[in-house]
Symmetry: C2
Subunit: 363 residues, 2 copies
């Protein structure tokens, strides 16, 4: 059975197919913060339940102010949206790239949107042999004149590999000289220890060809809200997006939650510490295993390659589901295959359970 | 001062401009059900607050089932969206009409979307002298070969006038023969006493060129949710919309509320009775006034024309704001002008207050 779990959102399907109650599933496939939804935003929604009767602020001023304080970028450079999906879609529809180049393997949404806007995607592979490192010179060779958009996710999903800010600068400079827009999806950047060395946020003012995408589904464990934002200093792009955008695509609960969550320093710090500690612990354990290839990760998930040819990722998926554990069989990502699987970092107990089960079958 | 209150959503602006606390405003401009948000949906959200951590159902199956039961149309003919705005936008983007004809005066969003999709709008006036009745023969003459889309709102905003099902059938037949799509916005249809004589819902199976828009902001007093739906039996259109649509544009609170609200028979009936009684009462009162022209309305709002040339709608707006009353100065609607104002039906006490103040200034 192929499990198309690209959005980490098909637990309904798995629950039915394997007859497991959804609440019993230990979901290592969704890349969602194991601390769950911040209490602060649940309380804010309950306390303000009557806001259903109000239209959201058409300018989303308080929400943008809150994001502005969080990331240190002027309010006017922030565009809020219905999840990062709406912003990816709007940006690509406006750029309308005849050709877009996507650093791959990657989230399938970029390719889908480029196709919907009438363009063609070229998938540029990360170098698996070098731990999914991006070869900049080869990339520049591939960025020929037809290409109007470069898409990269940093840290990248599903590989966990990240570009540092110096590499991104080089990419932005090169692309600027060729009139190529660069869309950087930073959905997972808050899970890194070295946010400042990886995030492109501080480059936003200098590079008008940069468009950064951020979400709240993963780090703030709030996929139900559908709250995302984009960061960009190109006035022409911002104006075009605002003109094309539905005025109220962020609903009032997402707006209210967003006004709170970015100030919840306790939740943010607790998450960072938990993910860092668990990532270190799990990586140290996995480094000792002989039958897998392990890749450095800056994200809250880990990709491994099974070296034992007799075992495949779909088989491991089937094996783990007996224990109510759902991992991401990464077979269907381009440039990967049936030896790749991905799992995210959950609570210490859940992680231990997964690692012990994986060890049994793999080592 | 021009008050651009087309969405009924700029109370923030009015609150600041006139230094009135938002909660003190008696809003006759928003066309929102005075009963407020159904308790049932507030309770459902509070009881299920943890759903923030879940993705909405990508198929919105339960939500569609609930709408299907409510309107008596198969689930597969229902498309859910982020307010009716997303559905208007998606439909027009897919049809891409070179020319669209809009029965006017009307909500400005239709024209905006036709323009965004690269088309041109022709505004076809309702006949003010005959109580904003639509002249079908003149309409058919205006529907020349270039026009690919006809847009009408039924009952119409801001006039309150409605087409009956026989007239709509004639329009659909004629448009079918000319390959013209018909978008019927039924945002206000649930406020009518004679829903079945006005709504196009029962025509959906027969007419593949019919696309009906419904919202929940007005009748269910829930603009914060951003929940709308479209009804259509044209498989090609449904498929194209689903392909172009963001997968999760309805957030999980809107989804949860939508699964409940359409079954809240008590709220629905209470609303219908309240609006019917108050509409009858207010209309009877206004019929006796000599300095206004009154138009029949099927909606939860009333449009009047001031016959006294010395008084304008903007002046009445300014006069009423002193009592914290906000009406809709309808000056900026096409084919209207500074003698037109619109107000919606609120609670008996609020309505009495408005009518007494209007009487003072107008009679």
């Amino acid at each position: 059975m192929t499990i198309n779990n690209q959005h980490g959102g098909n637990l309904d399907f798995i629950s039915k197919a394997y007859k497991i109650s959804k609440k019993d599933i230990i979901d290592f496939s969704g890349n969602i913060n194991p601390l769950g939804v911040p209490e602060s935003i649940k309380n804010a929604i309950i306390a303000n339940i009557d806001i259903i009767s109000k239209y959201p602020d058409i300018k989303y001023s308080k929400l943008k102010k809150s994001i502005s304080d969080y990331i240190g970028v002027p309010k006017d450079n922030i565009i809020t949206g219905n999840g990062s999906t709406e912003l990816i879609s709007l940006f690509i529809k406006i750029i309308k790239p005849k050709k877009g180049l996507i650093i791959s393997p990657a989230y399938s949404e970029y390719e889908k949107e480029i196709k919907l806007s009438g363009g063609k995607s070229i998938l540029f592979p990360l170098n698996e042999k070098e731990g999914f490192k991006l070869n900049l010179l080869e990339l520049f060779d591939a960025l020929n004149n037809d290409i109007k958009l470069l898409v990269l996710c940093n840290p990248n999903n599903p590989t966990g590999s990240a570009l540092n800010i110096h590499e991104i600068k080089k990419i932005l400079e090169y692309c600027n000289s060729k009139n190529i827009f660069v869309m950087v999806d930073e959905t997972y950047v808050e899970f890194t220890d070295i946010n400042k060395e990886i995030s492109s946020i501080n480059l936003i003012e200098k590079y008008k060809n940069l468009f950064i995408i951020r979400g709240t589904s993963k780090f703030f464990a709030s996929p139900g809200l559908r709250l995302g934002y984009a960061v960009c200093s190109n006035d022409e792009i911002i104006e075009k997006i605002n003109k094309n955008k539905d005025p109220w695509s962020v609903n009032i609960f997402a707006e209210t939650a967003g006004e709170i969550m970015f100030n919840d320093i306790e939740f943010i710090n607790k998450t960072k510490i938990l993910i860092k500690n668990e990532r270190t612990k799990i990586m140290n354990e996995l480094k000792a295993w002989k039958n897998i290839k392990l890749y450095e990760t800056q994200a809250n998930f880990i990709l491994i390659k099974i070296l034992n040819k007799a075992i495949t990722a779909p088989q491991i998926f089937e094996y783990l589901i007996k224990y109510n554990i759902v991992i991401r069989d990464a077979s269907d990502f381009e440039f990967l295959g049936s030896s790749f699987l991905r799992f995210c970092i959950l609570s210490p107990e859940d992680n231990e359970l997964l690692i012990s089960k994986l060890k049994l079958i793999l080592e």
